[in-house]
């Protein structure tokens, strides 16, 4: 006999405990009286037990790493067209090629003129028959500059750390003291009307790292900190890291070389951009029935998706290391 779908739905809901208490009691009473209903209930319970008892499968161990890589890749791909840097780069490249071609044509023109001056017959002179070895077309070897070995040396990077704060004077005092305590010298300029203080300094990576680490105590009072770093020609850049933490800044400047600094900065730029995407606390309160998850989201660890090196807190002065230049700008928050 084919079961009634409506009754089946009720029985199914009964098995799942999804009926209101009154209907639940009615079904129980019905099942006690009607063996057919009782049999059908047993079938449903056993069928449900079979599926429920299937073993739980665990996600592969490397899943988190794969998610991290995928997120990084997607974020980088999204940022590239938005930044406009690539377009500017293409225009720059075309302009350079055009100039190079123009220079080449001009050079060929000059060379052609010089060659013509040399080989052109002087008016009034007779044309001699060609003699072996003489009168052959003059071959003009293109003048090539002597091959200069390309030495890719780490020549440091230049950076600009912009700090927005409501208390420029206090930050200025701390920064000034930090410069002195770390044995650095800086070129200081100020625009009191605009509330801007600028420190320009050139030092070793470790020196700059120590200076930034000295600011850790007041970092939280800053309203926003942005680091922009740029390497010499062979390095891609510049890279701007928004909402940077002191630990991140130290990691970037104390990386082993400029390439590593730029790479680390790029990673933090991605993760900080991602962190800024997380919802506000009002939404977080609605997230999940699990408060711990909401707290996790509210306090995302800025390094959690970037397995970069920990900031070196035991800085030691290096030997023979190229200097880096850093401009620290204290801006009054508007």
């Amino acid at each position: 006999m084919k079961a009634d779908p409506k009754i089946d739905e009720l029985l199914c809901s009964f098995v799942d405990g999804e009926l209101p208490p009154r209907q639940q009691t009615e079904i129980q009473r019905l099942a006690a009286r009607d063996p057919e209903i009782s049999r059908r209930l047993r079938q449903l319970q056993n069928c449900r037990a079979l599926v429920s008892a299937l073993p739980r499968s665990e996600a592969p161990g490397e899943l988190f790493e794969q998610i991290k890589v995928a997120v990084e890749r997607k974020t980088l791909l999204e940022e590239q067209p938005a930044s406009g840097v690539s377009t500017a780069g293409v225009i720059h490249l075309i302009a350079r090629r055009f100039l190079a071609a123009a220079a080449m044509i001009a050079l060929l023109g000059v060379l052609g003129y010089v060659v013509y001056q040399i080989v052109a017959p002087v008016p009034g002179t007779e044309v001699q028959p060609p003699v072996a070895g003489i009168g052959k077309p003059l071959r003009v070897e293109p003048t090539q500059p002597a091959a200069v070995p390309i030495v890719v040396a780490d020549s440091g990077f230049s950076g600009r750390l912009e700090i927005q704060t409501a208390t420029v004077a206090q930050a200025d005092a701390v920064l000034k003291r930090a410069v002195e305590q770390n044995g650095l010298s800086a070129l200081v300029a100020s625009d009191d009307a605009a509330g801007i203080r600028t420190y320009k300094l050139v030092s070793s990576r470790q020196g700059v790292g120590r200076l930034i680490a000295s600011l850790q105590s007041i970092w939280r009072s800053f309203d926003g900190v942005t680091l922009r770093i740029e390497g010499p020609g062979q390095f891609a850049g510049p890279v701007t890291v928004q909402a940077i933490t002191s630990g991140q800044a130290v990691s970037i400047v104390t990386s082993k070389n400029t390439a590593a600094s730029i790479e680390t900065a790029r990673s933090y730029a991605v993760i900080n951009a991602m962190t800024q995407r997380t919802p506000g606390r009002d939404v977080l309160a609605a997230i999940s029935n699990d408060v711990a998850v909401a707290q996790d989201l509210a306090t995302i660890d800025d390094k959690v998706l970037i397995a970069g090196p920990e900031a070196d807190t035991t800085l030691t002065p290096p030997k023979g290391e190229p200097n880096v230049s850093l401009t620290i700008v204290l801006l009054h928050t508007r």
Binding site: E9, C12, S13, E18, R42, N46, R48, L54, I287, V293
Partner: protein
């Protein structure tokens, strides 16, 4: 974010695997789901719970995947049709029995029985499979299932009821096939 992923990755993976039946694809779909969650977390407005929102993304991706691969999946299942041996056949009979309740722990102990149950589950149509997996494997209530699948509560009731009936019919067919081969 790491804790969030670690907290849910096994549950999402388990549900996706039970829906698509292939662990490599399940890993890829789980990864895709989390990437989508991270990308669009700013769009989450808290109108539903985060738990159901997360599962909605994963389940939708999996359903799309299943629809795209429906033909291939059917072929592969046909090729690997299970032939229950005597023990598994009897265990399955016990489960479908209307005489007495059976011990679910028995399923976990019998790999063959697990494979049979999984095979039967994969033979259900995707929408029916989804409600069974969310209810009986993930343990969601009807309201949560309705939220995840974006369907009415009444549809959850009717679909689940039909799914269990169909599942029973598929399992009975397996027993009968096994029985006829034994003879």
């Amino acid at each position: 974010m790491e804790r969030l992923i670690i907290k849910y990755q096994n549950r999402i993976f388990n549900v996706v695997l039970k829906m698509c039946g292939n662990s490599d694809d399940a890993a890829e779909l789980t990864q895709e789901a989390f990437v989508k969650v991270i990308e669009s977390i700013e769009k989450f407005k808290g109108r539903s719970s985060f738990y159901t929102w997360l599962f909605r993304i994963a389940v939708n991706l999996t359903l799309n995947y299943c629809q795209r691969h429906a033909r291939t999946a059917t072929r592969s299942l046909d090729a690997e049709d299970m032939e229950p041996d005597g023990t598994a056949n009897q265990s399955l009979r016990d489960f479908l029995s209307d005489e007495r309740a059976v011990d679910p722990a028995m399923v976990a102990q019998s790999r063959e029985l697990c494979d049979l149950a999984m095979d039967a589950l994969l033979k259900l149509e995707e929408p029916q499979r989804a409600v069974v997996v969310l209810r009986d494997i993930e343990g969601m209530n009807y309201t949560e299932i309705a939220d995840v699948l974006n369907i009415e509560l009444g549809t959850v009731r009717s679909r689940l009821s039909r799914a269990r009936s169909n599942l029973r019919e598929i399992l009975e067919a397996m027993i009968n096939e096994g029985g006829s081969k034994d003879r």
